[in-house]
């Protein structure tokens, strides 16, 4: 029986309080304010836009609690959004002073003698994206825009093919789906325009393109997972202001990815490893690879005498230009990582996310004036994107990821050629979904599983950490008595097929130990044990499961990481 739900009617609904939507909401307010001021002054003969209700939904406990990124911020978009940002004490305290790219072997390192253009970050800011979005959000509260935290969007609401709003998650259901004493059904938030800025592999975005496959891009989106820690290191390490990117160890030539070290202010260090979610080795464990990365003598030396402050993980949309599906529809716009606006050569997406948010705001502004929120007007978003720096930046590197199909070096070469010829090199290259590239145990190991065993590590809980300990440092917690938010459509496959064919990659690719293969009660074989309370909301499982049976849906609002400085 359908419960009675509260219905809230708003004009514009932003799903996700990340940089894209916050920039969008701020810019929209600015446009409306300027518009109304001009009308008051008599400079413009149009209708004023008054009494607009704008709401932002955020599934995390507070703004920034689920926000994580490397992060290097190119302030170009911020300058457009808030021209006088420097006077508003932004959390932009550290500029990049020195770029470096190292190629690592197990014990050694060689530095690239030059830095390719997109990776020249001198002058950009090294930031904590979480602190940055909290700063952006402060403005919004003063503008009267409500940010509703602990409200995940769980379902898109439609009228025929038109998006009319979002249903939020139920609260107070127990493990079996029964109502507890604090049961509250989710509310239906109806809006003329819904803007999806859910981040990488957004759950609502995913369902939208499942419903409208004709809107999908030439290539599917492909992803990478970033595993990151923030450390406090001794001042003697002198890393403040350095932006270091690494290739090579611990990843092999056929695995896309690389490491990063960004020296933040106050001797804080952002350190991480990005692993492409199109790897071949079914037993690859990105979290383990990150621990191996930290164990490299040069890196261990940097972390020596320091201590871990925070841990987190997120996936990144790496597909680029040809993986961006139509980011608009009747009543809906899609921005930021959800749409795929990330430059995987320069490894930066925040300025593009904000740019897309601003362009969405301009489109919404037009739609409000025309009183038309159908696709006819909203397609103006794509037009604006194509005329913006986003197009220029992404087109130039449009075949970057595809180039790595043949391995690291061909990929790098391809990337360089393409960049130097301003993208003229290379016809549109096709790509398949990342998880399809995963090989079976038989094909990859050919019976030599000892190759894998030797890759295991003992964690010392000082430099390297096991997954459970790292999860502790992410501040993750969930109401434990709630339905499991990882929906497995065919759970029988796990032990009957996947265990034999792929060795249950979920236990390896999840950076939070949500998936565990354990002995059954009374030694009756093995089974999959889920620890959904550990989930850091990265979506790796939704992406990488070779059988496509895992569906990540948002758990009860407020649950998840509590990132302070990611």
């Amino acid at each position: 029986m359908e419960p009675e739900r509260d219905v809230l009617e708003v004009d514009v609904l932003f799903v996700g309080a990340g940089p894209a939507n916050l920039a969008g909401a701020i810019h929209l307010s600015t446009l409306i304010k300027e518009h109304n001021e001009k009308i008051e002054k008599g400079v413009l003969q149009e209708e004023a836009i008054n009494e607009l209700s704008i709401v932002i939904l955020e599934k995390g406990k507070e703004i920034g609690s689920h926000t994580i990124s490397g992060c290097i911020l190119d302030p170009c978009t911020l300058k457009k959004l808030i021209p006088d940002y420097e006077e508003k004490t932004p959390p932009l305290k550290q500029r990049v002073g020195k770029d470096a790219i190292h190629f690592l072997t197990e014990k050694g390192k060689s530095s690239l003698p030059f830095i390719p253009g997109p990776l020249k970050n001198k002058g950009h800011y090294i930031v904590s994206l979480g602190k940055f979005v909290r700063w952006l959000a402060k403005d919004l509260e003063e503008l009267g825009i409500d940010i509703l935290c602990e409200f995940p969007g769980t379902e898109l609401l439609y009228e025929d093919n038109r998006v009319i709003g979002v249903r939020t998650g139920d609260k107070g259901l127990d493990k079996d789906g029964n109502q507890k004493n604090n049961y509250e059904p989710g509310a239906d938030i109806l809006a003329s325009i819904t803007v999806l800025g859910e981040g990488s592999r957004g759950n609502l975005t995913k369902t939208y393109f499942q419903k409208f496959p004709n809107k999908k891009s030439l290539n599917p989106q492909v992803y990478a997972v970033g595993i990151k820690e923030v450390w406090k290191i001794p001042p003697s390490k002198n890393l403040t202001g350095q932006a270091i990117h690494t290739l090579g160890y611990p990843l092999d030539k056929s695995t896309y990815g690389g490491g990063f070290l960004y020296g933040m202010e106050d001797n804080h260090l952002a350190i991480g490893l990005v692993v492409g979610l199109d790897y071949k080795n079914p037993l690859l464990d990105p979290h383990l690879e990150f621990q191996r990365f930290k164990s490299h003598p040069d890196i261990a030396g940097i972390l020596d005498g320091g201590e871990i402050i925070s841990y987190g993980a997120k996936t990144l949309p790496e597909g680029g230009y040809y993986s961006i599906s139509k980011p608009y529809g009747d009543g809906v716009l899609i921005v930021g990582d959800s749409a795929g606006f990330l430059d995987s050569f320069s490894l930066k997406g925040v300025h593009l996310a904000m740019e897309s948010g601003m362009l969405a705001a301009e489109t919404i502004f037009e739609s409000l004036k025309k009183k038309d929120s159908s696709e006819n007007t909203l397609k103006g978003f794509e037009t604006r994107v194509k005329e913006s720096p986003i197009e220029k930046e992404l087109y130039r590197v449009r075949n970057l990821h595809q180039g790595f199909e043949k391995g690291l070096f061909p990929g790098l070469l391809n990337g360089m050629f393409q960049y130097l010829t301003k993208g003229k090199w290379g016809k549109p290259k096709e790509m398949e979904e990342g998880h399809k590239r995963m090989e079976t145990l038989k094909d990859y190991y050919g019976g030599h599983l000892d190759k894998y065993q030797s890759g295991k590590m003992k964690f010392d809980n000082k430099l390297t950490f096991d997954k459970e300990s790292d999860v502790y440092y992410s501040g993750t917690s969930h109401e434990e008595d709630q339905p499991c938010h990882l929906k497995l459509s065919k759970p029988d496959i796990c032990m009957k097929e996947c265990a034999i064919v792929y060795g249950n990659p979920c236990q390896h690719f999840c950076p939070a130990n949500v998936y565990e293969i354990v002995e059954k009660e009374n030694d009756g074989g093995k089974e999959l044990k889920l620890n959904p309370a550990n989930c850091v909301h990265c979506k790796t499982c939704d992406i990488m499961d070779p059988y496509e049976i895992i569906d990540w849906v948002p758990p009860e609002g407020g649950g998840g990481p509590l990132y302070k400085e990611q």
């Binding site: 459970e468 999860v471 501040g475 917690s477 009660e521 044990k529 309370a533 509590l562």
Partner: protein, 325 residues
């Protein structure tokens, strides 16, 4: 302002909660520093006989409100009575336990008296005559140092953290009547439904025997229950076995379960993740039994046995039986 410290000595079914003694001990120490007195308050039905004991823990004045209407803990009545007592005594500092009842009363009394309220405190000190407390925040991941500006300052104290000290107070027992001129309660307690019968509450236990996935099945917990009943101990559980449905969430020890600080914590088949440690690391003595010599639990254990718990626990049980006999 007056100069006494006020302690709500919470009792349940005729027995004081452990945190009541902890709160009283803290109050006595602070009172000695300030040259003040300690006023304790007992509220309930048939609780008169409990009052004397509080003299040993530092109470100078002990208010007793004993009335059948106070059976079953009607929270509004308790709030009204306490608020009035605090107003009358003009206390500067009020201490309650961070229990379900304490968490209910503290904000309500605070709102009524315009007080500063700090919950889940793990310590309280006077620094230049200002009360500074440490509170556990962000699911035990950080500690916040907070100073309270208003008076009275109301604190709820986390159980099993502060020490209990025996120090004599004047012990003057004052009988008070409920209800004189108190507003009618808005909330009426209708019924108390007990969740489990005769089980020892792990937060109150002096000895805990805890088990994890190493027990391999729900039935095997009988091993721990036998040992526990011999020692008068409670049985605790890791999140793993609670998730599996083998044990109740009431018994879960850890970051998302209960925080315990018994004199003796015997932990079997639990590896000792940070999340579990967060709930028991302040136990006085920790004995760990695990067949993995690298299990992190051994790093904080006072005594560790690397061995198969299915061999060790029965042997331990036998030895305990001999000692008791």
């Amino acid at each position: 302002m007056g100069n006494s410290l006020f302690v709500f000595a919470e009792q349940k079914e005729g027995k004081f909660k452990k945190v009541a003694y902890e709160a009283l001990s803290l109050a006595r120490n602070l009172a000695d520093e300030l040259g003040s007195e300690v006023e304790a308050s007992i509220i309930g039905n048939q609780v008169r006989s409990l009052a004397e004991e509080l003299k040993d823990y530092g109470a100078d004045r002990i208010n007793v409100v004993d009335d059948p209407s106070l059976k079953n803990c009607p929270p509004d009545l308790y709030k009204n009575i306490l608020a009035q007592q605090i107003k009358e005594s003009e206390s500067r500092i009020v201490l309650l336990g961070s229990t379900a009842l304490g968490a209910d009363l503290a904000p309500k009394i605070g709102a009524e008296l315009g007080a500063s309220v700090a919950t889940d405190c793990i310590s309280a000190e006077l620094q230049e005559n200002r009360l500074t407390v440490l509170r556990s925040v962000y699911v035990s991941k950080a500690i916040a140092r907070v100073s309270l500006e208003n008076e009275p300052a109301i604190l709820t104290l986390r159980t099993n953290v502060l020490p209990i000290n025996k120090k004599e107070g004047k012990g003057e027992i004052i009988k008070k009547e409920p209800g004189d001129g108190l507003p009618d309660p808005k909330v009426v307690m209708k019924e108390i439904i007990k969740s489990s019968q005769g089980k020892k509450d792990i937060e109150e236990a002096d000895i805990i025997v805890a088990g994890g996935r190493g027990l391999k099945s729900q039935e095997n917990f009988a091993l721990l229950e036998e040992l526990a009943s011999l020692m008068g101990a409670a049985v605790g559980a890791s999140r793993s076995v609670v998730d599996a449905g083998w044990r109740s969430h009431d018994d879960q020890v850890g970051q998302t379960g209960k925080t315990v600080s018994p004199n003796l914590y015997i932990v079997c088949g639990i590896s000792g993740s940070i999340q579990h440690l967060a709930g028991m690391s302040s136990s006085k003595y920790i004995v760990a039994i695990n067949k993995d010599p690298d299990a992190p639990i051994f790093k904080i254990a006072d005594y560790g046995i690397v061995g198969d718990l299915f061999e060790v626990v029965p042997r331990l049980t036998e030895e305990v039986k001999k000692i008791i006999a």
